[in-house]
């Protein structure tokens, strides 16, 4: 139990560093940027306390915002996603699961991929629409949501299969 908390904190820090130091400098074709930090929300156990999910997603967003000088934007988007996480989980996974169950490509590949696609699309839609308050350009915003999702989703699935394989190797 305690080990899984350490694992989560490590993931939290790693994803922030990955996003701010590496991924945010990538800008494919001038529009697509991978936004990977929502992976943290995907990997929390199903039965995790709702308050801690909401607070940790808010903290994640705020820290990313401080690094990227976009006060509030990432925090607002990821907090909304975190609040609806439980309801979205219900759409893709059976309700009668264990509380410790962690969604992953090794445990339930099909539902996990669909869950990832839904969460990433929701997150990026919120994020880019909040961002475009300052400069509204519908076509450009939709294009950025679409292309960034296309880049982000395969990255998350690849990262997850990498993590799962390593974990299986350790056991």
């Amino acid at each position: 139990m305690k080990l899984s908390y350490i694992y989560e904190i490590l993931l939290f820090v790693l994803l922030i560093l990955l996003q701010t130091l590496l991924l945010n400098r990538i800008n494919l074709f001038g529009i697509a940027t991978p936004v990977l930090y929502s992976y943290f929300l995907l990997k929390l156990p199903v039965g995790r306390n709702l308050y801690s999910v909401i607070v940790s997603s808010f903290m994640m967003g705020l820290i990313i915002d401080i690094f990227l000088n976009t006060p509030g934007m990432n925090a607002a988007a990821i907090t909304i996603v975190g609040a609806f996480r439980k309801n979205i989980l219900g759409l893709f996974f059976e309700r009668e699961g264990y509380d410790d169950f962690v969604p992953g490509i090794n445990t339930a590949a099909g539902p996990f991929v669909r869950f990832t696609i839904f969460m990433v699309l929701l997150h990026l839609t919120l994020l880019f629409f909040i961002e475009s308050f300052t400069l509204f350009n519908l076509k450009n915003t939709l294009l950025r949501i679409g292309t960034s999702s296309v880049v982000t989703i395969p990255l998350i699935i690849a990262l997850d299969s990498l993590m799962c394989r390593r974990k299986a190797g350790e056991q």
């Binding site: 400098r25 990227l68 006060p71 350009n137």
Partner: protein
């Protein structure tokens, strides 16, 4: 009553989420013109440290290219020195008798000084782009100073300053405005960025009769922040204008933000004086 309490307790996580989202939106909407606390920007100690650490690594990959650029720049300056030397020789040789009574001050105060700085972080993936540099108030950097690249193109304007770091709002930020003109014309327009391409900005509000040729140079005009006649970019094509009375041009920016590493911050020695003078008029 008990039902009401039960309802609130059962749904209090929504309340928490709503509060946090409201706080985030408060941050989004109160950040007018970037006049925010230093703590919530990349100018603060911790993020600055992380960024300079990562920059130490990444700057290696640009070393060769930057060397090349510096060599080109020094060659250019060398040529300028030579031509100026020649001019001095011509001027001193032509006239042996001098009227010293009307000679100007022999040591004119230089108006612009340059502080070199290194880019430690640069974001250009979103709409709200910014640059963090590794010099701050203790190196003499103040808000509203102009920033140019080592190659001579304009980069942006300093907005938030901490002790060792400063955040620059670049040309490629929708909040950036600067007056500009075409090289062979006296009419002024305004530079802004439409958020689509980081190699291209827009020159707006030029009079309709203004003609252009592809490749025309765009220079700074009157500005409190930049000296006159700095290169901003080159005309690419005619853009869409909001208004029938004015022309808009797309311009290719002289600064390449993808590879920006070294910048120069312009210190205008008359800045305070001019500001005070202009403020006395407003009172």
């Amino acid at each position: 009553m008990r039902n009401l309490f039960n309802f609130i307790i059962r749904n209090s996580h929504w309340l928490l989420a709503a509060l946090l989202v409201a706080f985030s939106f408060y941050l989004v909407f109160t950040q007018n013109s970037y006049q925010r606390s230093v703590y919530l920007t990349s100018a603060n100690q911790v993020t600055g440290w992380f960024y300079s650490l990562s920059n130490d690594v990444t700057s290696f990959f640009h070393l060769k290219k930057n060397n090349q650029l510096l060599l080109e720049r020094s060659a250019e300056l060398e040529r300028e020195v030579l031509s100026l030397k020649e001019q001095i020789e011509i001027l001193t040789a032509a006239d042996s008798t001098q009227v010293s009574a009307f000679a100007s001050d022999s040591l004119p105060l230089q108006q612009f000084d340059f502080i070199s700085a290194e880019v430690v972080n640069l974001s250009f993936s979103g709409v709200n782009n910014f640059i963090t540099i590794n010099k701050g108030s203790q190196h003499g950097i103040r808000p509203d100073m102009g920033v140019i690249s080592a190659g001579g193109g304009i980069v942006g304007v300093v907005s938030v300053v901490s002790r060792n770091r400063a955040v620059v709002i670049p040309v490629i930020n929708p909040k950036f405005r600067l007056s500009a003109r075409l090289k062979n014309s006296e009419n002024y327009g305004s530079i802004s960025w439409d958020g689509t391409n980081i190699r291209e900005a827009q020159l707006q509000e030029l009079p309709k009769h203004e003609s252009f040729h592809e490749g025309d140079t765009v220079l700074t005009s009157f500005s409190r922040i930049f000296p006159r006649n700095l290169i901003i970019g080159f005309v690419n094509s005619e853009g869409r204008s909001k208004d029938d009375n004015f022309n808009t041009f797309n311009i290719q920016l002289a600064t390449n933000f993808y590879t920006l590493q070294e910048v120069l911050v312009i210190d205008d020695t008359y800045y305070e004086e001019q500001k005070q003078l202009e403020e006395t008029l407003q009172q």
